[in-house]
């Protein structure tokens, strides 16, 4: 697995597309309404949005992904880093932030490479 993280709008997906030559058909784009990720695609983009949907549904996204890690062995996963603001006043936003942090750490632990994008520039952090 290759994990690509970074703040919003920092060029994570563009980096994945250019480095791995991904076409739109290779990319599974998550949003809050997606309940099951299609792991047949090479790239899972914005897994943080899937995490938000699972949090809203009262589920544990880290536990769900832990059961799917074997299917993610060759995946390119993109996750927006939402960990750096003030503790959100809203309980749902707090739960989202916590779940994203756990998911990120678990995926990074499994990943062979972890990249962080800053203003469009990639930095390898694992």
């Amino acid at each position: 697995m290759i994990l690509i993280i970074g703040g919003r709008y920092q060029g994570k997906l563009e980096y994945a597309k250019s480095r791995f030559g991904l076409s739109d058909e290779d990319i599974f784009t998550c949003d809050e309404a997606v309940d099951a990720i299609n792991f047949d695609r090479r790239c899972v983009a914005y897994i943080d949005r899937w995490v938000l949907g699972r949090v809203r549904a009262g589920e544990d996204p880290a536990a769900i992904l832990a059961a799917s890690l074997d299917r993610m062995a060759d995946a390119i996963v993109i996750c927006t880093d939402i960990s750096c603001g003030v503790v959100p006043a809203d309980a749902e936003m707090r739960a989202w932030r916590d779940a994203c942090g756990r998911v990120n750490a678990m995926l990074a632990d499994r990943a062979g490479e972890v990249w962080r994008l800053f203003c469009g520039l990639p930095q390898r952090i694992k």
Partner: protein, 176 residues
């Protein structure tokens, strides 16, 4: 040498930017982009003025039309522009309106700024890693600033991130 520096609030961006710019060719210009709107803004301006007092910077106040900073300045000097963030806020949210085309215009102008002034240090703010869902206008501002940041990061020789007063070099060499 052109330097783009970003990072979170109170992580040392402006202080480092002053040190980098002060080491550049004279004359030194501080391009102040924030248009003070209240007492809090004015207090902040005072703090910044005190911080750079005695360093030899001439202040140019330019909250819009940034290329006019060269009206009475030597383009071969060193320019410290603080900040891209305020410049975009002024352009996108002028009194009584909203200009959604401001990010593109300001990105074009800042690229031209860096071409015109080979020795420039530009400061922006990293506002992209909090857990919040914003209203569409705030989101447009964040997307616009990030687009400008990325174009400046591509255009500048050196790209730096300030974290807890330390500098991470993302492109080029540490400037001192």
């Amino acid at each position: 040498m052109s330097v783009f520096i970003s990072g979170g609030c109170r992580n040392g961006k402006s202080t480092w930017a002053l040190r980098f710019a002060a080491a550049g060719p004279k004359p030194l210009y501080y391009v102040a982009t924030m248009i003070p709107r209240d007492g809090e803004d004015r207090a902040r301006v005072k703090r910044h003025q005190m911080e750079r007092a005695g360093m030899g910077f001439e202040t140019i106040e330019r909250g819009t039309d940034i290329l006019r900073a060269f009206d009475a300045a030597d383009p071969n000097g060193t320019f410290l522009l603080d900040s891209v963030t305020a410049l975009l806020a002024n352009g996108m949210f002028p009194p009584g309106g909203v200009d959604l085309d401001a990010p593109r215009k300001i990105a074009d102008e800042l690229e031209a700024f860096v071409r015109r002034a080979p020795n420039a240090v530009l400061v922006s703010d990293f506002i992209y890693s909090d857990a919040a869902l914003y209203d569409p206008m705030t989101e447009a501002y964040r997307a616009g600033l990030a687009m400008i940041d990325r174009r400046l990061a591509a255009a500048c020789d050196t790209v730096l991130e300030a974290v807890a007063g330390q500098i991470i070099v993302h492109k080029g060499e540490f400037p001192l």
